[in-house]
C-alpha cells in the first residue's frame, strides 16, 4: 500500500463531492422553487440511492469504459440524495416570517435566494455534504472493479491472496479517512449552526 493509493482515493471522493454539489445544489433549489419538479427530483434521487453501488458502476462502465471518471460519475449519482434533499429541506424549513419579510422588502425571487435563503439553509446543506463525503469514501472502494483505482484495490488484492495484513491496512486507512472527514466536518457544522 502506498500514499499514491490514498491520494487516488481522496481524489475520487473530492472530485465526486464537487460534482455532486455542482449538480445537487441547483437540483435542490429547483425542487424548492418549482412545485411541479419537486416530486420528480426528490423521487429520482431516492431511486438512485437504492441501486446497488456496484451495479451502478457496472452500467456506467458499459457506456464510458473503465476508468476513474466512471467511478466519479457513479459516486456523484450515488451521493446526490443527501445534498439534494438537504438543500430542499434547508430551504423549505426557513422561518416563513423571514421569507415574508424578504418578499415584503421588495426582494426578487433570485435576490432573496442568494442573500437570505441559501445563507440560512447553508448549515443544513453542509450536513448533506458531510454525509455525501463520508458515504463516498466507503462506496469508492468499488472503484477498483471498474479500473478506477483507490484503496479498494488494496483490500481486493488482500482478499485475493488471503493476506490479512493487506486487508487490514486498506480497511484501517479507509476508516481513518472517513473518521477524519466526518469529525472535522461535524466540527465546522457545529460552528455553522451556532452562528
Amino acid at each position: 500500500m502506498s500514499w499514491t493509493l490514498i491520494f487516488q482515493h481522496l481524489y475520487l471522493v473530492i472530485m465526486a463531492t464537487i460534482g455532486t454539489i455542482v449538480i445537487g445544489l441547483p437540483l435542490g433549489v429547483l425542487a424548492y422553487l418549482n412545485k411541479s419538479f419537486n416530486r420528480l427530483i426528490l423521487w429520482s434521487v431516492d431511486i438512485l440511492q437504492t441501486l446497488p453501488a456496484l451495479a451502478l458502476l457496472g452500467v456506467i462502465m458499459v457506456f464510458i469504459g473503465g476508468n476513474s471518471l466512471t467511478v466519479i460519475i457513479g459516486l456523484i449519482l450515488y451521493s446526490l440524495l443527501p445534498i439534494v434533499r438537504n438543500t430542499y429541506v434547508g430551504l423549505t424549513n426557513i422561518d416563513p416570517a423571514i421569507k415574508e419579510a424578504a418578499t415584503a422588502m421588495g426582494m426578487g425571487k433570485f435576490y432573496k435566494l442568494i442573500h437570505v435563503e441559501l445563507p440560512l439553509a447553508f448549515p443544513v446543506v453542509f450536513t448533506g455534504i458531510r454525509i455525501a463525503v463520508v458515504t463516498s469514501i466507503g462506496v469508492a472502494v468499488f472503484g477498483t472493479f471498474v479500473g478506477g483505482g483507490g484503496l479498494g484495490s488494496v483490500i481486493y488484492r488482500g482478499i485475493h491472496i488471503q493476506n490479512m495484513n493487506l486487508i487490514m491496512s486498506g480497511t484501517l486507512s479507509l476508516m481513518a479517512m472517513a473518521i477524519i472527514f466526518d469529525f472535522s466536518m461535524a466540527w465546522i457544522e457545529k460552528k455553522l449552526y451556532q452562528k
Binding site: D95, A97, I98, A101, T103, A104, G106, K195
Partner: protein, 372 residues
C-alpha cells in the same frame, strides 16, 4: 392618499373581505382592529400585494397598485411584523440597509442612514451596528425591525401586530417611539392590532372590522363615546360603558337598590331598623311607593314618642334630584349641604336610588379609568 375601493377577497369560496371601501390620508395613523379572523391582516397585506386582491382596486396617490412594478411598490412601503423577521445571517447594519441597498443607494449614504437611525432610538452605532439580531433582546430587535422599515424613507409603513410578542413595558416604550417617529416624519401608518388600548393610544383613526366587513371608521374618542354596534362595544369591553363626565345624569351616579320604609311604621320599629343597618335616617314612601320624606334618628329622639307613627316626624326638606337631572346638580348638593346623601326620584316621585359621596366617586373614577 390611500384608497381601498370595493375590495373583495375569498378563500376557497368563503368570502373573507366583503367589498370594503375606505380612504387614508397622508400622515394619518390608522389602526385596523377587530376579533381574530375579521380580515384586518388580509386587508393590510393587500396593500403591498403579499395577498392578491380578488376584485376591487387599491390606489396610492391615485395610482392603481396593480399597475406599479411589484418590487418597486414594496420597496416604497415599510413593513413590520409581529415575528420581527430580521435576517439572522445579516448584521444589524445590513438588516437596516436591506431596502436602501435594493434601491442602489451608495455605501456612504447607507452608512450615514444607519448612524442616523440608530441614534434616533438611542442605540449607539459602535455598540450595535456589527451585532447579529440574535444578540439583541426582543425589544431591541423590533426597534431594528422598525428602523429597517423606515430606512429608505418610505411614505407608508405597514405594521402587523408589531408589539404583540413583547412584554407590556417594552411594548409601551415602543408604542411611544413609533408614535413619535410617525409624527416627526409625517408617515402614513397602517397598523393591525387586536388590542384596544394600543389602538386608542396610537390611532388617529380606528377602522373596526368583523367577518370581512368594516363596522365603523372613527377617531378613538368617537368610537369610545358612540360605538356603532354591540360587537364594537363588547370588544372594547370595560370601556363599552364609558361615561362622559359632561353628559352624566344623576342615574349614572346613584347607588341601587335603595332601602325604604312605609309611612305607617312606628318609631321603635324605625329605631330598630336603623340600629340593625347602622344608619341614622330612613327614606319613607307611601303604600304606592311615592316618596314622602326622610325620618332621622334625631327627629325621633327629640320629638317622637314610643309607639307613635312616624308620619309627623317625616322631614320633607331633604335634597332630591330627578334621575335624568344633570349629575352636577347632585354633586353640588352633596358638596354644599350637610347631607350625607341625595335621593334620586323618577318623574312620578318614586325612589330609584341614592347618591352618596362614595357612589359619586365611583362613577367619576369610571370615567377616568373605565368601569370599575
Amino acid at each position: 392618499m390611500i384608497e381601498y375601493k370595493n375590495i373583495h377577497k375569498e378563500y376557497q369560496g368563503v368570502s373573507v373581505i366583503n367589498n370594503i371601501n375606505f380612504k387614508i390620508n397622508n400622515g394619518e395613523f390608522v389602526v385596523l382592529i377587530g376579533p381574530s379572523g375579521c380580515g384586518k391582516t388580509t386587508t393590510l397585506k393587500m396593500l403591498n400585494r403579499l395577498i392578491k386582491i380578488d376584485s376591487g382596486e387599491i390606489y396610492i396617490d391615485n395610482k392603481n397598485i396593480m399597475e406599479v412594478d411589484i418590487e418597486n411598490l414594496r420597496r416604497n412601503i415599510g413593513y413590520v411584523i409581529q415575528q420581527i423577521g430580521l435576517f439572522p445571517n445579516m448584521t444589524i447594519e445590513e438588516n437596516i440597509c436591506v431596502v436602501p441597498k435594493l434601491l442602489k443607494w451608495d455605501k456612504d449614504k447607507c452608512n450615514n442612514r444607519v448612524h442616523e437611525l440608530l441614534s434616533m432610538v438611542s442605540m449607539p452605532y459602535e455598540q450595535y451596528a456589527k451585532k447579529y439580531p440574535k444578540e439583541l433582546s426582543g425589544g431591541q430587535q423590533q426597534r431594528i425591525g422598525v428602523l429597517r422599515a423606515i430606512a429608505a424613507k418610505p411614505p407608508i409603513i405597514l405594521m402587523d401586530e408589531p408589539f404583540g410578542a413583547l412584554d407590556p413595558i417594552t411594548r409601551d416604550i415602543l408604542q411611544d417611539e413609533v408614535k413619535d417617529l410617525q409624527k416627526k416624519l409625517n408617515l402614513t401608518v397602517i397598523f393591525v392590532t387586536h388590542d384596544m388600548d394600543e389602538a386608542i393610544k396610537l390611532a388617529d383613526t380606528i377602522i373596526f372590522m368583523d367577518k370581512g366587513d368594516i363596522l365603523q371608521i372613527a377617531s378613538p374618542e368617537e368610537m369610545l363615546r358612540a360605538p356603532a354596534n354591540e360587537i364594537i362595544s363588547e370588544f372594547m369591553g370595560k370601556r363599552g360603558n364609558f361615561l362622559d363626565a359632561e353628559n352624566m345624569a344623576c342615574s349614572d351616579l346613584m347607588r341601587t337598590p335603595v332601602f325604604t320604609i312605609k309611612d305607617d311604621k312606628k318609631t321603635l320599629e324605625c329605631i330598630e331598623i336603623m340600629k340593625k343597618r347602622q344608619i341614622d335616617s330612613l327614606i319613607v314612601v307611601d303604600k304606592a311607593g311615592i316618596f314622602q320624606g326622610v325620618v332621622t334618628i334625631e327627629s325621633i329622639r327629640s320629638k317622637g314618642k314610643a309607639g307613635e307613627k312616624i308620619n309627623s316626624l317625616i322631614s320633607k326638606d331633604f335634597p332630591t334630584v330627578l334621575q335624568d337631572d344633570v349629575g352636577k346638580t347632585a354633586f353640588d348638593l352633596l358638596m354644599d349641604k350637610k347631607y350625607d346623601y341625595v335621593i334620586v326620584l323618577t318623574r312620578d316621585n318614586s325612589v330609584v336610588g341614592i347618591i352618596t359621596k362614595s357612589s359619586l366617586a365611583k362613577a367619576l373614577a369610571s370615567v377616568v379609568w373605565g368601569e370599575m
